[in-house]
Subunit: 440 residues, 2 copies
């Protein structure tokens, strides 16, 4: 935990890519997030890219052109292929060198402009794939508000289990069904036990939900048997994306005991194409959420003085829901939830330290989900099951519509961004998925 | 589910590799299992190999030599690299062609002997790595006896949950920490809640256990959103290995609610190097375990007439435990459990059909664990927590020793084999791991 603020964060910094200087842009020159892209509809090779305003810097072409030298040049080469795993593996020295080099090359007046300008592609002309080959995907449960809200529905008598305030609860998710923003999400079929029924039936889920999460990409990682300490943990995190952990609540209720969620979740997980580095988030670091009086202090392997000061990030989050009727009326989605990552009970450093304390090895490109990031008030809930109180209170939408759970054709868009007085806005772009009807 | 028995299974078949004809051999010419190997201690490239008696057929060298033509030649090329994923992806046509070609080439009197003999390496001179790049590892819970035995310890009031006889319960495990037989297993540290304590402590596990399982490697697999039917399911399974799902019971008891096991399991999973194909197991197919009177019939998506006839395999299993004292006395391990896969409540076809019914995509090289394969009687339990009844009744060992859970230096060896009158024995080799002391 040592967020470095340098001239790459300077809010006065402007780019010769003019769209990056627009006030509301997610991708000013202070951001410089990574994705893997190609020209839409082409069969070009996938390669790394960096967002600047409405453009993408083609890192594959930049590497071929030998744009940078030294450490930055090495990092550029590592980011030029079809996955960002090599860059993620390289660690902070390379990440920072490439950030610095890109920041300088994209500034107004930069000598590199002439070499760089031909390497830009408009984002509107690009398509994306997953930014990394994700070996293992772990999902955590870091919002005590989510855990309490959902726990109350599944276990009214003991919503928050005794281990919650000691253990950063997590479980392993499915890697193969992680898809990039924009991919349709087919409503899953599965076993459900209807209320008062005597036996389950195979049916299309009727309680399909989203979950508002962030995903953290692992950097260098650790060898099997060698834990990462909480103070070293953030050096093993490359960056952050948006993550929608689609969930079929009716499947989940019937299957989750005793080994946890399985088919209720593993049919699809959507992530945003853009990965915002921890470096870009440095100005927005805040202290970890204060534990209420009476809560235990974290055990020493999960504790560090820096957590109280800069363990969290005030990363704002919003969920938009667009129904087919809204689309037909030419309307965008309605915002149904707003919150911030800063309310999480466990910080990203604690997740890494806990995950590896038993010797479990984290590998470059592994993905850690935060779990649903519900905030402390009802309007900050990150899933419909919370917003609709288990389907009992429909969420009102514009035009007289309402939702308890998702209907076919509904489009869910997650957005995330940082903003604070004196700094340029840093955005994560969007994470979008539309519900397709159940198959055969 | 269409086990084909052909001349490659003929018990009269003998090989010009004489060690393959020895009666107790795991690897007669009727078996032909696959591994990925190289010369021990070398920095040679990893490549596929097939076991025959005490030798390995080097498939990398065989492919270079152009040993086979047609489909068998294609399959050989797919098996010649550092993982068997390409062969697994190719499907039954290729698997059978390669099996037939190898069976013919290894028979006594085969014309290919002169070309093949230089391509053999003694197993004693080889080292192994994982047979596949395992994208996702799923662990199931297919033994109702294990579920009941363990459930009784964790939840005395309701050992077997209401969903068990309807849902083939499974969860996602950790891919990164899957290691090949022979790798040391470091005792994990983690949070445990001592009896009667008010707060948990970070400590080395004192209730370290093994779990006797089989692993199934996925073949071609399915696309996201396209379920595999129970009748087509076995065409998506390449073969079977031994699997030890090491478990820290004290970590598990404290962490597993509500999202399932995590650090209690993800520090290590050991598999045997050899993968025995479903083809090799064809003569040992038996009907799925009979459900006791009163148990529900599987839902239609999990049911097929063939299950009752040939859905299971009578694959015998044994666990050996060798303590440091036994090793010091020059003794091998003591057998502490014997059982058979045939007792499983859910068949392999049911696992594939269930896993994909929601559209979840299975990919070539994915691994499906059966869960602990405890049989119906106490001596058939596949884990120490069952054998010692939750640590209350130590398991007696030769020389006056006893164990409730594993101690440092203990070596656990899993073995599996098929045997039946009129057929050659088909073995899986061994899956071995020794407990190393906890680290810092």
């Amino acid at each position: 935990m040592s967020p470095v603020i340098d001239d790459s964060h300077d809010p006065a910094l402007a780019s010769w890519v003019e769209s990056a200087n627009a006030e509301g842009s997610d991708f000013p020159p202070q951001n410089l997030p990574f994705a893997v892209f190609r020209r839409a509809g082409s069969d070009e090779a996938w390669r790394g890219g960096v967002a600047i305003g409405e453009q993408i810097v083609d890192l594959g072409a930049a590497a071929q052109a030998g744009l940078f030298e030294g450490l930055a040049g090495e990092a550029l080469a590592l980011a030029s292929g079809p996955t960002l795993n090599p860059l993620m593996a390289a660690g902070r020295g390379h990440w920072r060198a490439l950030r610095q080099a890109l920041s300088h090359a994209l500034r107004r007046g930069a000598a590199d402009r002439a070499r760089l300008e031909p390497l830009l592609l408009p984002q509107a002309a690009a398509e994306y794939t997953l930014p990394a080959r994700i070996g293992d995907y772990t999902d955590f449960y870091t919002s005590v508000h989510h855990a309490t809200n959902v726990g109350r529905l599944f276990r009214p008598d003991h919503p928050l289990l005794p281990n919650y305030k000691w253990v950063p609860i997590g479980y392993h998710g499915r890697s193969s069904s992680i898809v990039v923003s924009g991919t349709g999400v087919r409503r899953p079929r599965g076993q459900v036990m209807p209320p008062d029924a005597e036996q389950p039936v195979l049916a299309a889920s009727r309680r399909l939900d989203f979950e508002l999460e962030l995903g953290l990409f692992v950097g260098p990682g650790n060898r099997l048997g060698e834990p990462v300490s909480v103070t070293e943990a953030e050096a093993h995190l490359f960056g952050v994306c948006l993550l929608d952990d689609w969930s079929a609540r009716d499947l989940q209720a019937w299957e989750y005991q005793p080994l946890g969620p399985f088919l209720a979740k593993n049919f699809a997980t959507t992530i945003s194409p853009w990965v915002v580095t921890l470096e870009a988030l440095a100005p927005f670091r805040v202290g970890a959420a204060r534990r209420p009086a009476g809560d235990p202090a974290p055990l020493p392997y999960l504790d560090s003085p820096a957590l109280a000061e800069v363990g969290a990030v005030d990363l704002r989050l919003a969920v938009e829901l667009q129904t087919p009727a809204m689309r037909a009326r030419g309307e965008g989605g309605a915002v149904i939830s707003r919150t911030s990552w800063r309310h999480a009970y466990w910080t990203m450093a604690q997740l890494v330290a806990h995950h590896s304390v038993n010797g479990c090895n984290l590998q470059p490109g592994d993905l850690l989900g935060t779990g649903t990031l519900s905030g402390p008030t009802p309007g900050e809930a990150g899933a419909l099951i919370e917003l609709s109180v288990g389907g009992k209170r429909p969420v009102a939408l514009p035009g007289g519509e309402a939702r308890t759970f998702l209907e076919d054709g509904d489009c869910v868009v997650l957005r995330g961004w940082c903003e604070a007085p004196g700094w340029r806005r840093i955005g994560l772009g969007e994470c979008r998925g539309t519900v397709l009807p159940a198959g055969r």
